[in-house]
């Protein structure tokens, strides 16, 4: 009984002391600068420029140095990369290199295997669109012969 009474007053005391403590914390936060930014229009610099260099944004392909080895297509876990390479008289020719960015999960598995760094990440990340088909990126406009690295030259450079 006596303990109950003591507990009763202890409860009151604890409630009365702990609530102002919490309120002081929120008051302190009120006078701090907000950490949010007003994306997308009222920002000091473009978000893309503030991202680290290895940010995994949209993929891009440099068709001039693509060797058509199909490693990226093979490594992609969800088959969002489609490459069309035909054997013609002059050699192998790239006819299309499609990446479905709507499907892509930005895992980054396609980038490391590429022997020439033809496929790589950009820092672009704004992909919202009214038409999902516009996210199907095509990197080859005219049929391009595949890049053939000069093996001897590369070996010399490595050495």
């Amino acid at each position: 009984m006596r303990e109950d009474i003591i507990q009763y007053f202890r409860n009151i005391k604890y409630a009365v002391t702990s609530v102002p403590k919490g309120m002081m914390v929120t008051l302190k936060n009120m006078f701090r600068e907000p950490t949010t930014i007003q994306y997308p229009d009222r920002i000091p610099q473009k978000i893309e420029d503030t991202l680290p260099l290895n940010y995994r944004g949209h993929l891009e392909v440099e068709k001039e140095i693509c060797t058509g080895c199909l490693l990226c297509e093979k490594f992609c876990p969800i088959d969002c990369i489609r490459i069309d390479v035909h054997k013609e008289e002059t050699g192998r020719v790239l006819h299309s290199f499609k990446i479905d960015m709507a499907k892509c999960m930005y895992c980054g598995l396609c980038v490391p295997p590429c022997p020439t760094d033809a496929i790589r990440f950009t820092r672009k990340f704004e992909g919202s669109t009214y038409d999902i088909k516009s996210l199907l990126f095509e990197f080859i406009d005219t049929p391009t012969p595949v890049y053939k690295p000069n093996r001897d030259k590369d070996k010399k450079e490595e050495a």
């Binding site: 409860n11 609530v19 914390v25 929120t26 009120m30 907000p34 950490t35 949010t36």
Partner: protein, 369 residues
């Protein structure tokens, strides 16, 4: 001259010479229109204020796009809510469902009748003003209960039942703590209560005696609970009951519930100022010959104090978690009611032994003797 509707009525009679009854009706209608739209604007302003305060507390910015500093956000919100489709569930009790938000709004807005903004500006200085204010705001519970039952939704019903238990219980400590003020003044009229206080802090009832000092906190807490504000927002409790009693409401009807809640924040803050912090009282040197200027200063003073308390309400909301239903009842019946009784006794003994003088007055009296 303590009733502006009558003043206006006399003014109309003198200048236009129309029928007395018609003139009374017109003057009361006009005053009601002005005051209600004032409270509507205040309610809207509070929704904006709440979002800005919450934003800053949470390291965010808050709405700042519509108008300067986002002040017209309330208009944007209001227009959006009005234009939204007004859904009524197929199995809802339609007449009750439609009626509930209006009951809430009427309950809150009617309390404005007795709130004095200055020594002259009050719609009606009833001689039972305190009783009226406490009683009419409880009408909200009927609206909430009605809406929750009519929604035909289990979550709504749970919210409504919680609300009924909560509001009715917390009416008691609120009334008990105001009772100690009534003991000192011996009047239930709001204007009398304010006139019994002064402009300076030592003349406020807040510092009158230990009883009223504690009574203020009890009044404020239970007024918060009556208004379903955090930490007592269990009828809405969005993480438990989805949205409580207004789960099924949308558009206009939802905005009425919303408006009622925010108008009620203004009402409870102004009641706290009136009962404990001197209301519109201003120091003597500020009272000028010009009646209008004096009144404007009084209104500004009153609104300033009220907004301080509104800020505290918002501040509390963004700090504390909510209580559980049974803890809420425990707090009311085991803590607030006994303590408010003790406060009442302390105040009563003060009134008995020192003839209603405040603690500070008694103390100063002792020293100067």
């Amino acid at each position: 001259m303590n009733n502006i509707a009558i003043t206006l009525h006399n003014f109309i009679i003198e200048n236009f010479g129309i029928d007395i009854n018609l003139s009374l009706a017109i003057s009361y209608f006009l005053i009601a229109l002005i005051f209600w739209s004032f409270l509507g604007v205040i309610g809207g302003l509070l929704t904006f204020l709440e979002r800005r305060v919450a934003g800053r507390i949470q390291s965010r910015i808050g709405p700042n796009r519509v108008g300067p500093q986002g002040i017209f956000q309330m208009l944007a919100d209001g227009i959006k809510l009005v234009l939204k489709e007004d859904l009524i569930p197929a199995l809802a009790d339609k007449p009750l469902f439609r009626m509930a938000p209006y009951l809430c709004v009427i309950g809150v807005f009617s309390a404005l009748v007795v709130i004095p903004f200055s020594s002259d500006i009050v719609v009606a200085d009833l001689n039972v003003g305190v009783l009226y204010a406490l009683a009419i705001t409880t009408m909200v519970v009927m609206g909430i209960l009605m809406g929750s039952w009519a929604s035909n939704n289990k979550w709504s019903l749970l919210g409504g039942l919680r609300s009924a238990a909560q509001i009715v219980s917390y009416e008691i400590p609120a009334a008990l703590s105001v009772l100690s003020i009534v003991l000192i003044t011996g009047s239930l009229s709001m204007q009398d209560i304010i006139r019994a206080q002064g402009a300076w802090p030592h003349q406020w009832f807040f510092f009158h005696n230990p009883g009223t000092f504690v009574a203020f906190f009890i009044f404020f807490t239970s007024a918060l609970a009556e208004n379903n504000r955090v930490p007592f927002d269990i009828p809405e409790a969005e993480s438990e009951l989805v949205a409580g009693y207004n789960t099924e409401y949308s558009g206009m009807r939802f905005s009425f519930f919303f408006l009622a809640e925010f108008a009620n924040v203004f009402i409870i803050s102004s009641l706290a100022v009136i009962f404990f912090f001197g209301g519109w009282q201003i120091p003597h040197f500020l009272i000028s010959e010009n009646h209008i200027i004096t009144n404007i200063i009084m209104i500004a003073n009153f609104l300033f104090k009220t907004f301080v308390f509104i800020f505290i309400v918002l501040w509390l909301r963004w700090t504390l978690p909510r209580l559980r239903v049974d803890q809420l009842m425990t707090m009311c019946w085991k803590y607030l009611i006994p303590i408010s009784f003790i406060c009442l006794c302390i105040t009563a003994s003060f009134v008995l032994f020192f003839g209603g003088k405040s603690m500070i007055a008694v103390f100063i009296g002792r020293i100067t003797q």
